[in-house]
């Protein structure tokens, strides 16, 4: 809770002036140098910490004071709370130039860990990371004094190797590898003892510790692991936990050939041509060099963990840990097999058994991903058929568990990591893309950026059309998934529950209604189905209208414009003429068949209209090739209001590309036909009805109609008189009171200016022809590319030439 008190403290801390801070710091210094460090010192250090931490701008503390903090931190007499506070302040100020700290003399492992946290925060300008690494290995090498535990040092080491694996020499890594192998394999399997409470009556030997147990209570019969349970734990058991926790990191850095940083590509180790079928046995492992020995122990540890994950835990939360251990174990096995392919044979059979054990259990679904990754990496080497694994993963899991956000995230990451799989057309991965979109439909905000990365891999000439429909219907998919989740399991015996003639009253009823069932099934399909026609989803879309305002559906709808733009950008790279034509036809058709969410429709229209222009630029001949569809669309009056953006851009495209310079097949008859259709449209929307109210249309629709008609007339010059006459009538239109009451003044002025300019241009037909129909090679010059922008400018120039005196041009 960010409370009023906290807000006030924060404000005060930020407003402390430098002088005040200096005085406070000297007060703290005096306390720290005093004989006893009590509650007052604690309180002051806490406030000092806040003063430094509260602002992102630097707080200057005197160099001597910073030195004092370091001295106090390292002093053995100092209470732990004070030490932790000093470390916190030093870290907060980092990177810090006044640091004199060194870990060289520190014997106490806990203090060493604390000091390391300060040193590692310095950004490694002075090789602090390496120095700390050296010190830690040195401490680990020797026998630790009584009461000290290596437990506090392993996390530091793990941190260091993540930042700078080259901090350790090969000899040092061998030393640590050797110890890790021992910690992993030879920790005590007796429980620890509680610390004796002391006192006269205490008897430290009252209770003998028993053996550790498994998570289900059974006595453990094999070596100790993180899934071993005891009342108290010994030091080596703690080290076992620490060692396993850092094992993956360690193996990634030092397990392979040569030095690897954790971030580098770890697709390595597949360089052995002869695969050993005989696994290394434990007895001979003592002879192995440290790296190989650690690998062996790690592998055994992972096998044991996987077996232990089969047990039913007494404590529910241990079940979560079992699953996390399972995932880690499989991942580590994968790494080991990459580093030494002789382990592949052992691992494969083991993991296949594991897979069949867990594949039916939804709570283990997340573990299926590293298993599948393992088989993707190694099944070829092991000559094992793992298609069934992939099929189950891609067909069943998304369909059943799309609503699990962590699984959804990890699944999509898995797809991104293996994106090359989607390029094979016939593969199960490629075929399952409708299933993948369920993750996005349900969990839109966290996954949209992941899908932006993934979509290009799913798109090619074969899938483009289906994905186009899928994207437009994505919010419907969300609604359908919602219904699927809420509807009880389908009864196997379908009673005559739904009479086909009776319309379902709710969406839930519709889910099993014979008329709607197949539509739901299509929408919720798990495999690509390009032959099916999504147009038949129209009744379903209407039915789902009641869910159109549900927040989840709206969130999904907001992702569609982004994906559509990306879709077209990718498609533009490979689409040929026929595919472009198909897309344009579908674009026009689908504009009628969208889920009824108002903001969604507007956004989709906006994207589709600009992408239509892009497609025309790519394949200008489409205007001629699709003249029927385009004529029909541009000749439907309702389109001007309902789909204004698309209509305007279609009309613009007609004006731009209906020309013999873009397609030799463009005939005068075609131009005339388009002219007549558009003329009728312009007439319709500028008609002055004497008694009825005048509807208002988008001014830019009027403008673009006028411009296009002019352009067409410039190419088929018998049309010029008709256009000129029409344009001259625009004056009457804009001055009519019925019109001025529904349009705003600026818009009407613009319309009039444009009409005038176009008319004037038509008075010089050859100029008009040049401006409006440039030869294609000239079109590549900068002027022509910007002809859309420069057209008004050009028109104004021409107008000025014709009307030297300011005529009826306002302003």
């Amino acid at each position: 809770m960010f409370t009023a008190a906290a807000e006030s403290f924060l404000k005060q801390a930020r407003e402390i002036q430098e002088e005040e801070l200096r005085r406070f710091a000297s007060r703290v210094a005096a306390l720290l140098q005093g004989p006893e460090l009590g509650p007052e010192a604690v309180d002051c250090l806490q406030r000092l910490h806040l003063a430094v931490a509260a602002t992102k701008y630097p707080r200057k503390l005197d160099g001597k004071f910073v030195e004092l903090l370091q001295t106090v931190l390292c002093s053995s007499k100092c209470p732990e709370q004070i030490q932790v506070l000093c470390a916190a302040i030093l870290r907060e100020m980092s990177p810090c130039n006044d640091l004199i700290l060194s870990c060289d003399e520190i014997q106490d492992t806990k203090l060493l860990s604390l000091v390391s946290s300060v040193l590692l925060a310095q950004g490694n300008k002075k090789a602090e990371v390496s120095a700390v690494g050296q010190r830690i290995v040195k401490v680990l090498e020797r026998r630790l004094p009584e009461g000290q535990s290596a437990r506090y040092l392993l996390p530091v080491l793990s941190n260091i190797i993540s930042v700078s694996p080259e901090s350790l020499t090969e000899e040092q890594t061998n030393v640590v590898s050797k110890k890790m192998a021992d910690w992993l394999r030879y920790a005590s399997i007796q429980q620890g003892v509680s610390q004796p409470s002391g006192g006269f009556f205490s008897n430290p030997r009252t209770r003998q510790p028993g053996p550790v147990t498994e998570v289900d209570g059974a006595i453990a019969t094999d070596f100790f692991t993180v899934l071993s349970v005891g009342q108290y734990y010994t030091q080596d058991q703690w080290l076992n936990v620490q060692a396993f926790s850092m094992l993956r990191n360690w193996l990634l850095c030092y397990g392979g050939k040569g030095l690897k940083t954790p971030n580098s590509d770890d697709k390595s180790g597949m360089d052995r041509s002869v695969m050993s079928m005989v696994s290394t046995t434990s007895t001979s492992s003592r002879l192995l060099p440290p790296k190989e020995r650690l690998r062996e122990k790690a592998f055994e540890y992972c096998q044991r963990l996987i077996e232990q994950s089969n047990r039913r835990p007494l404590k529910k939360d241990d079940g979560d840990l079992q699953k996390a251990c399972l995932i880690e174990a499989v991942t580590i096995m994968d790494i080991i097999c990459k580093q030494d392919s002789s382990y592949v044979y052992r691992a494969v059979s083991f993991l296949k058994i594991l897979h069949s054990r867990i594949c039916g259990d939804a709570t283990y679904a997340r573990a299926l991903l590293p298993i599948a990754q393992f088989f993707l990496n190694h099944s070829k080497m092991a000559a094992v058929d793992s298609d069934a694994i992939y099929k189950h993963l891609f067909t069943d899991i998304p369909a059943q568990l799309f609503h699990n956000p962590s699984l959804a995230f990890e699944f999509v990451q898995f797809c991104k990591d293996n994106s090359q799989l989607f390029t094979e057309t016939s593969s199960i991965f490629r075929q399952s893309f409708p299933n993948l979109f369920k993750f996005l439909a349900w969990n839109s905000p966290p996954l949209i950026s992941e899908f932006v990365d993934l979509l290009p891999f799913l798109l090619d000439a074969g899938t483009a059309i289906e994905i186009f429909h899928l994207l437009l219907d994505l919010p419907c998919l969300t609604a359908a998934l919602d219904i699927q989740l809420r509807s009880p399991a389908l009864l196997t015996s379908e009673r005559a529950a739904s009479d086909p003639a009776v319309k379902p009253a709710t969406c839930l009823e519709a889910f099993r209604h014979p008329l709607y069932k197949s539509m739901f099934q299509y929408l919720l399909r798990t495999k690509s189905a390009p032959e099916d026609a999504p147009e038949r989803l129209t009744p379903l879309r209407q039915l789902l209208g009641s869910l159109a305002s549900s927040p989840r559906v709206v969130q999904c709808a907001e992702t569609v414009p982004v994906l559509l733009e990306l879709f077209f950008r990718v498609v533009a790279e490979f689409a040929d003429g026929p595919l472009i034509n198909q897309l344009v036809v579908l674009l026009l058709q689908r504009s009628d068949q969208l889920y009824e969410i108002p903001a969604f429709k507007d956004d989709v229209y906006r994207v589709l209209s600009s992408q239509l222009v892009m497609l025309c630029k790519l394949h200008p001949a489409l205007i001629v090739e699709l003249s029927t569809e385009i004529l029909e669309f541009s000749g439907t009056v309702s389109n001007i209001q309902n789909k204004e953006a698309i209509f305007t851009h279609v009309v613009w495209a007609i004006g731009e590309y209906m020309s013999v310079s873009y397609d030799k097949r463009c005939t005068v008859e075609q131009i005339n036909r388009f002219f007549e259709t558009l003329e009728a449209m312009l007439f319709e929307i500028t008609q002055l009805r004497p008694l009825a109210s005048t509807p208002s249309y988008a001014p830019r629709a009027i403008s673009v109609l006028m411009a296009t008609l002019t352009k067409l007339a410039a190419r088929s010059q018998d049309l010029i008189p008709r256009v000129s006459m029409f344009l001259s009538k625009m004056r009457t239109f804009v001055q009519n009171p019925a019109v001025t009451s529904v349009y705003c003044e600026e818009d009407l002025e613009e319309i009039l200016i444009r009409a005038t300019e176009l008319m004037n241009l038509l008075k010089m037909p050859s100029v008009a022809q040049f401006v409006f129909t440039p030869p294609v090679d000239v079109a590549s010059t900068r002027f022509q590319r910007e002809v859309n922008d420069s057209l008004p400018f050009a028109l104004r120039i021409v107008t000025r030439l014709l009307e030297p005196t300011p005529g009826f041009m306002p302003g």
Binding site: M1, A88, N97, R248, P445
Partner: protein, 207 residues
């Protein structure tokens, strides 16, 4: 490995409860406590030296916090949860967070860290806890770690109360992190190990 831990106040549409406060804009998202465990290699040096490096660190953490707050709000609205807080339980007991909203998302390279990171988060009432992890991290373990850190921090820092312990007692949070997430290392602790850790920290558990 975990790069950073952030404890943030979600902020949001409610105006701040300052008495006599003139403005009533939405409360900002605030980082109440944070701990950065390391800066990975390949991070470009910032010109301007240590102060700018520190500034960048603070701003990166704030950027993470804002993303978490935004994802949390979106999740709350999509699942139709009421924005009224649940009844807080006895502050002494570790609170069970089984149904607490949470999620995971990725931040691309350059925004705000030079490398890609994965953020996993958990929210309780008006607060959120987030782990900034390396891309290939074991997210199941990260979620377990968060679910263990959150109730202990809530109790130890009295986060559900009216005080400002979270700002004034950083060492309490440090101690918890040193045990459950030392130097950014997540630990595979089963329930008994966790109890042993609680004992070491002096936390009373009911089990």
């Amino acid at each position: 490995m975990v790069r950073a831990f952030v404890l943030l106040a979600l902020g949001g549409p409610d105006p701040p409860t300052l008495p006599g406060s003139a403005h009533s804009g939405p409360a900002p998202c605030r980082v109440l406590y944070s701990r950065v465990f390391r800066t990975p290699p390949g991070t470009p040096l910032v010109p301007g030296g240590p102060p700018r490096q520190r500034l960048r660190r603070k701003e990166q953490l704030l950027a993470v916090a804002r993303q978490v707050a935004s994802q949390c709000r979106l999740l709350q609205s999509s699942s139709g949860r009421p924005s009224s807080p649940q009844l807080p339980q006895l502050p002494d007991e570790p609170i069970s967070l089984q149904d607490a909203p949470g999620g995971v998302f990725q931040l691309p390279p350059g925004d705000p860290f030079p490398q890609r990171v994965t953020v996993t988060w958990l929210s309780v009432l008006a607060l959120a806890f987030a782990l900034v992890c390396d891309p290939q991290e074991n997210l199941s373990l990260a979620e377990i770690t968060l679910r263990r850190l959150a109730p202990r921090l809530l109790a130890s820092l009295r986060l559900l109360g009216p005080g400002a312990d979270v700002l004034l007692r950083p060492e309490a949070a440090d101690v918890l992190l040193d045990r459950l997430l030392p130097h950014g290392q997540m630990l595979f602790l089963n329930e008994r190990f966790l109890q042993a850790t609680d004992r070491e920290m002096g936390i009373k558990t009911s089990r």
